[in-house]
Each structure stands twice: as C-alpha cells, then as structure tokens.
C-alpha cells in the first residue's frame, strides 16, 4: 500500500488522536495548548501536501484516491482555513473549561473535507462527507449553555442527516447501475451505455448532488448556513463557511464530469447556481445581523462557484477558475469572520456603528474583505470572479454571467450597508476586543488577503495548471 501518498491525511489523523489523548489528561488551564498541537499538525500536513505538488497526476489506493494538482490545491486551501480558525479559537474558548477535544474535532472536520475533495470513488466520497459532517455537528453546538447555538446545531444535524442519507441512497443506486463505485469505471460504463436506465440514473444523480449541496451550502441544502454563521462559535462559523464549501465544490466537479450528456447536468447545475446566488443575495438584503448576513452571502457565493462547475466538461480552464474563485472567497470570508471573532463575536449591525472611529485597522480589514467578496478590483475577489465570467462566457453561457453580474450588484447593497454603518454612523459605546492571538490572526488574514490581491499573477499561474486526474 502506498502509505506515502496519504501522509498529509495521516498527519491530521494522528494529530487529532494525540489531541484527544492530551485533552483527556491535561489540566484545565493547559487545554489551550491543544491549539498549538493542532497548528503543528496542520503545518506538517501542509508541508506534506506541498511535496505532492510536483508529482504527475495519478490515482492511488486501488484508484479510490485522486492525487492531482486540484486535490493538492484544495488541501492547502482547506488547511489554511483550518489554521486560521484554530488560531482564532484559544482566545474565544478561554472561558470554556474543557475545550481540548474541540481542536481534535476541527482536525477531523478538515480530514473529512480533504477526503471529499480527493475522493475518486463514490464510497470514499460518502466517508468524507459523513466524517466532515459528524465531526462538525458538535463543534456548532459547542457552547452547551447557549440556546441559539444548540438550535443551530440541531438544524445543521437534521438537514445533514436527511441529505446524507439521500446521498447514500444515491451512491447505492449508482453502484447498482454500474456495478462499481470507482469513478474511472463508472465513467466507462456510463459512456458505453448512456441510456441504459435513464430514470434510475437521474434519481441517483439527483440524490448525490443533493447530498453535495448540503456541504456546499447551495440550494436546496443551504438552510443550515445562516444559523450556523450566526450562532456557532465564531471561529467555527469561519471554518464551516469556507472548508466544506471548497471540498464539496471540487467533489461535485469531479462527480459531474463522469456523467453522460443525456443527463443534462450542465443545465441543472446552472439552475442550481442561479437559484442559489439569487436566493442568498435576496435573503441577505434584509438582515440586520452581520454574522447572519455573512452566512447568506456565503450561500450566494456558492452559487457563483457553481458557474465554474457548469462548464467543467467543456472548458479546460474551469478547474483553475473554480479554485481561484474559492481561494479568493476563502481568504475574504476568513478575514471577515476573523474581524467578527476579534470583536468578541459582536453580531447586530447596530453594534458596528462608528467602528471606524476607534478600530481603524479592524475596520479596514473588514471593508477590504467585504469589497473583495463583491469583487471590486484590484482585490483578490475580482480576479476570482473575472475568471468565472471568462470561462462561462467562453463556453457560451453568457446568460449565466449576466445573471451573476446582476446578483453582484444586488450583493453590493448589503455589503455596503455594513461598510456604511462602520464608517458613517457615530460611535455608540465602547468597543471590546478579544485578545492578542485573535488580533494577530485577524491581521494575518488581512495581510493574506492583500498579498493574494497584489500577487494575483502567481495565483493565476497556479490556477492555469490545475486540473483533474483522468
């Protein structure tokens, strides 16, 4: 068995186990050290992932595991998101007397997301999705005495349970149709006889896509996202708005590439994209709660990301565009949630009044993050959106780009509302912030966003070489 191909994942797994053991024996005041352990595990995993970059794309472990540039890029992105969420946590969790295993759960979630993105086999996909889901349910409800968090956790769990079981049904149906769970084999069989059982195949595809929309937070599996963004611990909100989305988008792109044209999947994905972005933006318009607003904005961003999945079969640049967009989104969203965390999770829009008067750096990072989410040049978000528009227009989906452009204008409205409140309103009351660690992490996330914007060339060169195996 080529164990070496799985080094990043094994590091995460071992790290998580060590943290669980550590948390069981460490005294209360040393629980936060687990964050350090988690960061070390993440850094090691990132180093091992980087070493996989140069390898030629291949399938490993009897073909169930894809090892290509897209998978490596996803790993790095997900690990970065995890590192920022973990680094934000010690200050946030200071008051929680037992939180060592929190970091283990974070690592398990990330491991699940990485499995999702690398899965080249439908059973592997199921394992990845279930692992990332079950590990993140308790994270959302980690504040046991906080009723909204419990409600969000329950909602997340119920929607997850439903969509995950549908996913399993879909995978079983697909297995029944093609006699294998391996993607390469599935593609062969489907290509050979595309119209053998069109209805059964459609049902299977629908169930699997539905299962993935849950992790993507795209319509119709999106309903948990605003609640989780609002009520989960803020670092977890940062993690769950970013990591599962990245993994699920890549997994969806891998999966739909297998399907025969008779399934009309580009049209279906395009419709999901349109509904998701429009719904997310319309719902965000009226929010008076910044975290909930960011949750809905995250839903709408899934819709944009799906634009690249629509053209994944015809446009060689589509995987690059997808990951470039997701990377830009991830950096901006992490920066925004880092600001929210640093401000002690202050959530009502009213409480952001006049923030620019005293917290100039914090406000600056928030404004840059929001403008990047809109796609105002020359911030990173602009290049992501530009690539999306380019691949969709080049593949003849100009109407989709127009819908996305209209949605962008719509989204500008609510992002600007937040910016206007911080800059134009008088300051109300004192501003309390979390601590040094959260400040440093927030600063790091802001610097990363700016660096990504200035170094867009590097990102685009990388994006151009991204592709799927096979």
């Amino acid at each position: 068995m080529p164990i070496g191909d799985l080094l990043p994942e094994i590091v995460l797994l071992v790290g998580a186990v060590i943290i669980v053991l550590f948390a069981s024996f460490a005294p209360h005041k040393h629980q936060a050290w687990a964050a350090g352990l988690a960061l070390i595990a993440l850094a090691l995993a990132a180093v091992f992932s980087l070493m996989q970059w140069q390898q030629p794309p291949m399938r490993t472990f009897s073909g169930v595991w894809a090892l290509d540039t897209a998978a490596v890029a996803t790993k790095l992105l997900v690990l970065l998101a995890g590192a920022i969420a973990v680094a934000l946590s010690p200050d946030w969790m200071r008051r929680d007397r037992r939180h060592g295993e929190y970091y283990a759960l974070c690592l398990f979630t990330l491991l699940g997301v990485i499995m999702m993105a690398s899965a080249n086999d439908s059973m592997e996909l199921v394992v990845g999705i279930l692992l990332s889901s079950t590990a993140s349910y308790p994270l959302v409800a980690y504040h046991r005495g906080f009723a909204p968090a419990l409600e969000a956790g329950m909602k997340y769990f119920l929607i997850g349970a439903l969509t995950n079981s549908l996913l399993v049904v879909g995978v079983v149906l697909l297995f029944g149709l093609v006699g294998d769970t391996d993607y390469a084999r599935t593609a062969q069989v489907l290509a050979a006889s595309p119209n053998a059982a069109p209805l059964a195949l459609s049902v299977a595809v629908a169930c699997i896509v539905l299962g993935l929309t849950f992790k993507l937070a795209a319509f119709p599996g999106h309903a948990w996202m605003p609640d989780v963004a609002q009520s989960a611990p803020a670092p977890i909100a940062a993690l769950l708005t970013v990591a599962p989305k990245v993994g699920a988008a890549v997994a969806l792109a891998r999966f739909v590439s297998l399907l025969p044209a008779s399934q009309l999947w580009p049209v279906i994905v395009a419709l999901i994209a349109v509904v998701t972005m429009t719904l997310g933006n319309l719902a965000a318009l009226k929010q008076t709660d910044v975290r909930r607003l960011l949750g809905w904005s995250s839903v709408s961003q899934s819709g944009y990301a799906l634009m690249a999945v629509v053209v994944i079969g015809v446009e060689p640049q589509a995987p690059g565009a997808l990951l470039a967009f997701l990377a830009a989104y991830a950096l901006a969203n992490l920066a925004a949630f880092a600001v929210v965390t640093h401000l002690r999770g202050r959530t009502a829009l009213e409480d952001y009044r006049g923030l620019g008067r005293t917290q100039s750096i914090t406000t600056l990072i928030l404004i840059l993050a929001l403008l990047s989410l809109v796609g105002i040049p020359p911030l990173a978000g602009f290049f992501g959106k530009f690539l999306l528009f380019k691949v969709t227009i080049a593949s003849g989906y100009t109407w989709l780009a127009v819908v996305a452009a209209i949605n962008t204008v719509l989204s500008l409205f609510y992002y600007l509302r937040v910016i206007a409140v911080t800059m134009f309103k008088p300051l109300a009351g004192e501003v309390h912030v979390l601590g040094t660690w959260s400040w440093l992490t927030m600063l790091t996330s802001g610097v990363l966003l700016i660096a990504a914007s200035l170094g867009a060339e590097g990102g685009l060169v990388l994006a151009a070489v991204l592709g799927f195996v096979g």
């Binding site: 403008l371 105002i376 040049p377 020359p378 602009f382 290049f383 530009f386 690539l387 528009f389 380019k390 227009i393 080049a394 100009t398 780009a401 127009v402 452009a405 209209i406 962008t408 204008v409 500008l412 409205f413 600007l416 509302r417 206007a420 800059m423 134009f424 867009a456 060339e457 685009l460 060169v461 151009a464």
Partner: protein
C-alpha cells in the same frame, strides 16, 4: 514615466494623509493641495512634451502585472485623454483648495479626495482595458465615501444609490470587456491592439451585444436619459467640491470611455448604430434642459444642465462615428467638439458647483425662491456666477461656445435634423440660466440674507483660475485644439 507620476503621487499623498494622525486641518489641506498640484504639473509637462505630429499614444509606460491573462500595467495618452486628464487634475486642485466644512475629519476628507484624484486620472491614462476597469470601479468607492461621510440631506441613501446604480453600469462594462478580450488571439487587454485589430468588425449579433453592453455601462455613467436618475440626488446631497468632481470628472469617464472603447475599438458597429446613439443624445439634450428649467433647487438645476451638456458630447461622438458619411472633416470636427465640450463642461460646471458649495456654506439652502438681490451684497459671487452661467449657455468668447459650435457644425453635415432640434437645447439652457441669475442676484434682498458674506480670497482665487481657463479656451482655443485635433485626425482616419 511622467504619467505614472501623475497618478501615483496623489495616491501616495492619500496614504500619507491617512497615516499621520496628528496633522491639523490647515496642514492637511496645504499638503493635499501641494500633492494635487504636483500631479497637475506632471500632466502639464506631459502636455508640453506631446508631439502633435507623433503617433496616437505617447508617453507610454509598460510593466508586467498579470501576464497569464494578458493584463499589464500600461499607461499612455492621446490628445483627447491628455486634455481631459489635465482638466481633471486642475479641477481636483480647485476642489481641494476650496474651503469646505470637513466635519472634524479633515485628514480623511483630503485623503479620499486625493485617492479619487489618483484613480480618476488612472481612468484617463490607462491603456489596458482591465486597468481601466479597475480605476473605473475604484472611482466609485472614493466618491461613495465622500458623499456618504461629508454630504448633507440624506447622504447615505444618495451614496448607496450612486454606488449601486453606477456599479450596475460598470458590470455591463466588465461583461463587454470580457467579450472584447475573448475575441482576440492571443488574449490581451492591450487597448492599442484592440484599436488596431478591430476584432469584432463584421461579427454581427455578438458585436451588437458587446456594443450594447459597453454603451449601457457608459450611458449610466455619462448619464444619458433615461439612465440619469441617480445623478440629481447624488449631486444635491454631495458636498460642493465633491459635486464639482462628480460633474467635472466622473461624468467624463462615461463619454471618454465611449471614445476610447466603442468608438475606437468597434468603429464598424458604432457606425451602424450611430443614428440611434445620436437620437438618444438629442433626447438627453432636450429633456435635460427642459427638466432643468423646471427645478427650483439651485443644485438640482445645475445637475440637470450637466445631462444636457453631456448630451452635446454624445451627439458629437455619434456624428463622428458615422463612418458611412464620407465627410472626414465634419466627423473630425464633431469629435474635436465633443472633446472640447468635455473640457469646457468640466471647468464651467465645476465652477458652478463650487459656487453652490459657497451658497450652502453660508445658508444651508438651495431653494432659488429663498434668494434674491444678492448683486449688491456679494458682487464677486455675482460676477463669477454670471461668467460661468454665460459660458454654460454658450456665449461666444467663452469655452462653451467653442465646444458647442464645433459639435453642431460637425453634426450638421451628417445628421442635419438632429442638429436643428439640438439647437433648441441651447435656447432652453439660455432661458434657465438667465432665470437662475435673476432669481439669485436681482430683485429685492430678503431680510434673512442681510449678513450674507461675499466670497473669501480662497474662494474667488479658485474661481478666478477656473474662469481664466474658461476665458482662454473661449478666446484662444488653438492651444487646446492643436492637442485634440492631433488625435481626432488619427481616430477618424484623416491622417
């Protein structure tokens, strides 16, 4: 190099102002004015060094930026861009020097003005489509904060409306830019390549759609009727100097964009639709003038005259685009006129909006009916307003006349009927300005205006410089025309 200096100096000034928290109001203003003047100086040097017999784009700077998608930092000017950019820089100096209530945040105010100057000049100097778009969008961000933070009335609503409406336009623009970009092989955003290759010539519907998206984007910015509805509210609620910039510089981005993108890069398609564009411009001319006549709010009235004047510019561009009319001289005349109109309108309307700012500083009131008889009370204010108003209505010997005469003379050879109807606009404008002057300065002085102060030295100094510009262009237009004709001749293929 000189062009890069022109836009980067204000940007560094903005950063410096934002970074040094201890500066007093006077210090911040002096510093901002100095920086803005340096930028103006750089453009004047570029003007002096511009060779009218040389190639279309001069002073070109190029640097790698994002080569993998064909984006580079490219700046350079033709005579049209240089004239508009220099006027813009002058207007920025005027807006910065002009006294205004900065609501206790002088550093931020001047930093945003300088930022806006940097990105506005960037729009006119860029030779790369994507760079152009970047600056085009950033100018919205700058103006959003200026209106929202330092405006009056309901500034945040106006700022939001302004940003949303014009951002919608710029997204159409982005789609069209991608459309143009994808039509080239290899992909590049270099404007010179696009102008030379005319990639969409003869590609029917696709070219039509790209053209429509481009024109929609620029028509919102210009603005043309019926896409003008963001303008009056933004103007009324913006602080005086920001209004001057909005009318004098930001509106020009629309018409300048029309010349630089659809006019230069899609000549064949523009020729096909030039009559439609001309008719829309005519509607803007007449409708803008009529609505302005109906306004009783000083600033709103001037705002609507901007719609009317930008209509002349677009009419000129449309006539110049009529490729089929085998009358190069007339087309060149129309294009030159359109450009002079941009410069003239920037100076004239900039002055008028600064004057509006002076009224607001004194009385916080724009209602024309609340004024009267100020001619004795404030002779300097009266003098400058009369000069700017007469220039705006097209009095011979002032800048507006030079522009409008050339636009109409050029258009007459190509679309005579549009010209005949368009001249009506001048008549209405004359009526509305004379009415405005009568209501502000003549008649009986209302009791509450007994303490109305005349202009301070800083105010009349600035207005004096702008008025001098208006006079010089009116009396000796050759300095401006040499520059513009050099480029308009190349663009309509006389040379």
């Amino acid at each position: 190099m000189i062009l890069t200096v022109a836009w980067i100096v204000p940007l560094m000034g903005a950063v410096a102002l934002a970074a040094f928290p201890r500066w007093s109001e006077a210090r911040a203003r002096q510093c901002a004015a100095g920086v803005a003047a340096l930028s103006l100086l750089a453009l004047v040097v570029a003007w002096v060094g511009f060779d009218p017999a040389g190639p279309l784009f001069q002073h070109v700077d190029e640097m790698r930026w994002v080569p993998s998608i064909g984006v580079a930092y490219r700046v350079g000017v033709d005579g049209i861009a240089l004239a508009v950019a220099t006027m813009s820089a002058l207007l920025f100096v005027a807006a910065i020097v002009y006294p205004v209530d900065t609501l206790g945040q002088p550093r931020q105010y001047y930093a945003w003005l300088l930022f806006l100057q940097a990105v506005s000049l960037g729009v006119f100097l860029a030779l790369d489509l994507l760079l152009f778009y970047v600056f085009f969008d950033l100018s919205l961000v700058g103006m959003f904060f200026l209106i929202g933070r330092w405006g009056h009335g309901t500034p945040q609503v106006s700022a939001l409306k302004f940003f949303l409406y014009t951002f919608a336009g710029s997204l159409f623009l982005l789609l069209a830019i991608i459309g143009l970009y994808l039509s080239l092989d290899p992909f590049t955003f270099d404007m010179r390549v696009l102008i030379e290759q005319q990639p969409l010539a003869g590609s029917g519907l696709y070219a039509g759609l790209v053209f429509l998206a481009l024109m929609l984007g620029f028509a919102i910015k210009t603005p043309l009727v019926p896409l003008h509805t963001w303008l009056p509210q933004a103007h009324v609620d913006a602080p005086g100097p920001a209004s001057a910039i909005l009318a004098g510089v930001l509106l020009k981005m629309g018409t300048y964009g029309m010349i630089r993108l659809p006019f230069a890069m899609m000549q064949e398609t523009f020729a096909e639709y030039s009559l439609v564009v001309g008719i829309v411009a005519l509607v803007a001319i007449v409708y803008g003038a009529l609505v302005a006549l109906g306004q009783s709010n000083l600033k709103r009235r001037i705002a609507y005259t901007s719609i009317n004047h930008m209509g002349y510019t677009v009419l000129g561009i449309a006539a110049a685009a009529a490729l089929f009319a085998d009358n190069q001289t007339a087309r060149q005349l129309a294009l030159t006129g359109a450009t002079v109109e941009m410069v003239a309108h920037g100076l004239i309307t900039g002055a008028l909006f600064l004057i509006c700012g002076s009224f607001w500083q004194r009385t916080s009131d724009y209602e024309l009916d609340h004024y009267g008889g100020l001619a004795h009370q404030a002779p300097l204010l009266t003098g400058f307003t009369v000069l700017a108003a007469f220039a705006s209505l097209g009095m011979p010997g002032l800048a507006g006349f030079v522009a409008e005469f050339q636009v109409f003379a050029g258009t007459f050879a190509i679309y005579p009927w549009l010209t005949v109807l368009g001249v009506l606009g001048i008549l209405i404008t004359a009526a509305l300005f004379l009415d405005l002057l009568r209501r502000l300065f003549f008649g009986r002085l209302p009791a509450h205006l007994g303490g109305f102060r005349d202009l301070e030295p800083a105010e009349w100094g600035v207005l004096g410089v702008l008025s001098l510009g208006i006079l010089v262009i009116g009396v000796y237009p050759r300095i401006l025309l040499t520059l513009i004709e050099a480029s308009s001749a190349i663009l309509v293929r006389v040379r």
